[in-house]
């Protein structure tokens, strides 16, 4: 999935991808020196899942305005509603369509 996302992000010049292995690692990297413009997260992750990550990001004063896209195999309507209710800006169900991903990122970053 990372390869597909990396490939899709090639469309955005100068985009740099910082990878994290789980929610805890993501939070650590979000608190680091790099300015993050967008978060792409799965729901099913070890240690801390994507929904918890979304919830914690939205509660953090420094991070709460970063757009978040959830990309997941969980395609049920209640999962989507839950993700969006927690504060995700977009919810993409797998299988991934790179054009859909690019469009969503473009809209959220207004590029």
């Amino acid at each position: 999935m990372r390869q597909l996302i990396s490939f899709s992000l090639k469309r955005f010049k100068n985009a740099r991808i910082i990878e994290a292995v789980d929610g805890v690692d993501a939070l650590k990297k979000l608190s680091g020196p790099d300015k993050i413009d967008l978060i792409l997260t799965d729901i099913n992750m070890p240690v801390m899942d994507g929904l918890k990550l979304v919830s914690l990001v939205r509660q953090n004063a420094q991070l709460k305005n970063i757009p978040i896209i959830i990309i997941t195999t969980e395609g049920a309507e209640e999962d989507r509603e839950r993700g969006l209710a927690l504060g995700a800006n977009a919810y993409i169900s797998k299988p991934i369509q790179s054009s859909h991903l690019i469009k969503t990122i473009s809209e959220l970053l207004a590029v």
């Binding site: 390869q3 597909l4 195999t73 395609g75 169900s93 797998k94 299988p95 054009s99």
Partner: protein
């Protein structure tokens, strides 16, 4: 007639003449006004005629523009459809590119298998599936990796003999097997999957990808899925075969190296 009565008569006549003249003047004024009105009415009619002609011209032009608008709208619809098609093709190519790029990005057997699994989940959208490899000594297909044990119990322990059942037949003939559930229906079982795709190096089958269930948001296979299956059939087989050969040669190299080390130290 006395001078006095003649003067009265003249005054009477004069007054009558005066009244008559005044009446004539009034009538003249009325007629002039009427003429002026008629002249004005006449001018309006011309204006109306001119405006009518202009309205007709504008109506024709409007009709022409509306026709052209419809034509352009049709062209626009064609362009929009074409755009969607191209976008879809672009998307499909991106997926195919990523799949093939990933498959050949490593020589580690476990990693290759994991990549095949990722492609099947993320790009095809399968929830339950298995990757089977053919043991050439026993002619038996066995699960080496799988996903969705809850949705398809037993998927982790599939075993099928070459030529037996749907799976064995696919491995023997090298022909992919698909079910269109909408049309064919029926129960999906371990022996009767949604799809079985042979992993082939040229005509030599080394294993199968067997799909039992798609993600709930995916109703059926799409056109690009079949292309992905074709790509997987060839590229996954090569990647799996290469990684197996590589790990074997690595093992041999290590053995030889150890043997050499042993010789040189003695």
């Amino acid at each position: 007639m006395s001078e006095e009565s003649r003067a009265e008569k003249f005054l009477e006549l004069f007054n009558k003449g005066k009244e008559f003249t005044e009446e004539l003047l009034k009538e003249n004024q009325r007629l002039r006004y009427r003429l002026a009105s008629m002249e004005t009415e006449g001018a309006s009619r011309e204006e109306v005629d001119r405006l009518r002609a202009e309205v007709q011209q504008l109506t024709d032009e409007n009709r022409r523009i509306a026709k052209r608008f419809r034509e352009v709208e049709e062209e626009n619809k064609d362009f929009a459809n074409r755009y969607i098609e191209i976008e879809e093709q672009n998307n499909n190519l991106a997926n195919l590119y990523v799949a093939s790029y990933q498959l050949h990005s490593t020589l580690d057997f476990r990693e290759v298998i994991q990549i095949v699994q990722e492609i099947v989940i993320n790009l095809i959208g399968a929830e339950a599936f298995a990757i089977l490899l053919l043991d050439e000594k026993t002619n038996e297909l066995k699960t080496i990796a799988c996903e969705g044990e809850d949705a398809m119990p037993g998927v982790e322990n599939i075993s099928a003999r070459l030529g037996d059942g749907i799976l064995g037949e696919v491995a023997k003939t090298g022909e992919s097997y698909y079910i269109n559930q909408d049309v064919e229906g029926g129960q999906i079982t371990l022996e009767r999957p949604l799809a079985a795709v042979p992993l082939k190096i040229k005509e030599h089958v080394i294993g199968l990808i067997v799909i039992y269930k798609l993600l709930q948001q995916k109703d059926s296979f799409s056109a690009v899925d079949y292309e992905l299956f074709s790509l997987l059939a060839a590229h996954a087989a090569t990647a799996i075969f290469s990684s197996k050969l590589y790990s074997q040669s690595e093992r041999k190299l290590n053995t030889i190296q150890s043997f050499l080390d042993l010789l040189t130290t003695n």
